[in-house]
């Protein structure tokens, strides 16, 4: 059976079940937008309109708007990939999980289908949010090394997708996928620098947060998109992300 046919079938299933009305499409846009505004508004009571963050000796001053927007965008994608895995809980409850496994369809294709859905939602979000932040909030962009930016975006996306595949493979083994997926979200949001820079934490804790792919992705993308960061400045987080991808692929044997 064609791998891509299975992925396409998963996408169509999701579309028919979830994305079936203008109302649902609207909610998918409003929710992350609201969260983005929320994190942005938490900076308003303070005197500065920029936030400083550091990474291995590099310091950058970044506008709050860009800082929080990117945090929200990548965090939404992270939430999407964790929820893709916990969606198997729903399949189990409905009794359709067994029916899926009875088919000869590639299991990886089934998993990937869920992640494609998360990406589709993410793209929809980008279409909706970025113009608002660019034109209304006057998001300041400073790209000095386009290659570094592209690599940052690509590796972050791939690392989060790979992480999502691993989480899916893990969640399937438990009956608490939804619970685990939900539990992960807020701690990761706090630790990975979605809202506050991890450099605000004590060094030992900051080092631990760098184990989360989302943290490294945020650092790379923020540095290269908002602070004119060069490839040399983001080489270490990018290399770590690449390693994460490799390890994640290996871990798929778990499934």
């Amino acid at each position: 059976m064609s791998f891509f046919r299975v992925v396409k079938a998963e996408l169509h299933k999701y579309y028919v079940q979830q994305f079936v009305s203008y109302r649902t499409a609207f909610w998918f846009l409003v929710l992350p937008f609201g969260n983005g505004l929320l994190y942005y508004s938490m900076y308003l009571p303070f005197t500065s309109t920029v936030v400083q963050f550091s990474w291995l000796g590099h310091n950058a001053l970044v506008d709050i708007v860009g800082f929080t927007l990117l945090g929200q965008l990548l965090y939404t994608f992270f939430v999407g990939v964790t929820l893709a895995g916990s969606a198997f809980d729903t399949e189990r409850v409905q009794g359709t999980f067994e029916a899926m496994l009875l088919t000869p369809a590639s299991r990886v294709a089934i998993l990937l289908g869920g992640l494609v859905v998360a990406t589709a939602q993410y793209l929809w979000l980008i279409v909706g949010i970025i113009p608002v932040f660019l034109f209304y909030f006057h998001l300041g962009i400073a790209v000095a090394d386009p290659l570094a930016l592209l690599l940052s975006l690509f590796l972050t996306y791939t690392a989060l997708t790979a992480l999502g595949l691993c989480l899916e493979a893990f969640f399937i083994q438990t009956r608490k996928g939804i619970l685990l997926g939900t539990t992960l979200q807020e701690p990761v949001a706090l630790a990975s620098g979605v809202i506050v820079p991890p450099s605000a934490y004590p060094t030992q804790i900051a080092l631990l947060t760098y184990l989360i792919p989302l943290t490294l992705g945020l650092i790379s993308v923020r540095l290269t998109l908002l602070a004119g960061g060069m490839l040399s400045e983001v080489l270490v987080p990018l290399a770590t992300l690449a390693e994460t991808i490799a390890k994640a692929n290996g871990s798929l044997a778990l499934f």
Binding site: V16, V20, S21, Y22
Partner: protein
């Protein structure tokens, strides 16, 4: 003449069926007439059966009578109370039990479920405990009453449903396929309970919908066939059978007659031969079994005379009265 417990007059229920629409475009709506000018009367203390295939309108009828659904047009009364205008009063004196495993809170125990519904039915506070214990005892769930419903078997859930259906001591009870999916012995117990305790001892009026025609034959005082929302026929089970299938099936075992002779006998009397075959355990194939479709059992003594005159003999004769199943199949066009 006393007011019937259940009465309907030209009761109609139409559903709108919407086809799922694409992201752009209006949905396509189809109108489905589930109940079509239904007229029904059930006197007090009767066990009335409503029989029909899936989608015939049985459940829709029951839901309208129990006030769960608003009729599209027509009227219905329960003990003289209009189901639309006096719906709150109707709910106090009726209850409904549906087949299947839903309609219960799974995280609550059996007792907690019943206590809750006793509150909602405003059972006097001083009587709640006694009433709950009583219904639990009647359905045989006393010992498992304090376990969560999700741990119950299918049969136990169904029994708890019945208990819930009795919690307000209803005068009229609607049972919508109550034995569906139950084991044979549990279903048999339940039928006995419905007939003996609910109807004969307590004098409740029961409207039962079922697929199982044998169940209706066993339980019902009267029944009606419903097809595509309309009543096709109603009466007692035997009246219905005879009304629709006014013929009997006769089985004769004959020794010493060939197949063509047996068929000639049937033709001579104007009786239809359904089948003639050799009796299985007769190695000489000397005995034949004939199934005939006649309008009365009078052909049996004539068969004895006929075959005796020709040197053969009728070894045994059996008579099968038409059943509700025969009537159903005939009405359904099968």
């Amino acid at each position: 003449m006393s007011t019937p417990d259940v009465k309907t007059e030209k009761l109609v229920r139409v559903y709108e069926s919407k086809k799922r629409r694409p992201i752009i475009g209006a949905p396509k709506i189809t109108l489905v007439v589930a109940v079509d000018n239904l007229d029904l009367e059930i006197p007090q203390g009767e066990l009335f059966g409503l029989l029909g295939p899936n989608g015939a309108g049985k459940t829709t009828t029951v839901k309208m009578l129990s006030t769960l659904l608003t009729p599209t047009s027509g009227r219905a009364w329960i003990r003289g109370l209009d189901v639309t205008r006096d719906s709150q009063k109707v709910r106090k004196i009726v209850n409904m039990v549906a087949g299947g495993e839903r309609m219960l809170y799974y995280r609550l125990t059996g007792r907690e479920n019943l206590n809750y519904f006793a509150e909602l039915y405003d059972v006097p506070s001083s009587q709640v405990t006694r009433r709950v214990n009583d219904v639990l005892r009647r359905v045989g769930l006393e010992e498992r009453a304090d376990e969560e419903v999700e741990k119950y078997s299918k049969g136990m859930k169904q029994r708890l449903q019945i208990a819930r259906g009795l919690i307000n001591d209803p005068q009229v009870l609607f049972l919508d396929e109550p034995t569906i999916g139950l084991d044979v012995d549990i279903a048999k117990e339940l039928r006995a309970f419905i007939r003996k305790q609910l109807v004969e001892e307590q004098g409740k009026t029961v409207l039962l919908t079922t697929h199982y025609l044998a169940e209706a034959e066993e339980l019902c005082d009267r029944a009606a066939f419903i097809f595509k929302g309309k009543i096709a026929a109603q009466g007692s089970p035997s009246e219905l059978s005879k009304l629709i299938v006014p013929r009997v099936t006769i089985e004769l075992t004959i020794r010493g007659a060939a197949e063509n002779e047996i068929r000639a006998f049937a033709d001579h009397l104007g009786v239809k031969t359904i089948s003639v075959e050799s009796v299985e355990d007769d190695p000489s194939h000397f005995r034949k079994r004939a199934i005939l479709d006649a309008d009365s059992e009078e052909i049996i003594p004539r068969a004895f005379e006929y075959f005796h005159a020709r040197g053969a003999s009728v070894v045994s004769a059996g008579l099968r009265q038409p059943s509700l199943e025969d009537a159903y199949l005939k009405l359904a066009g099968k």
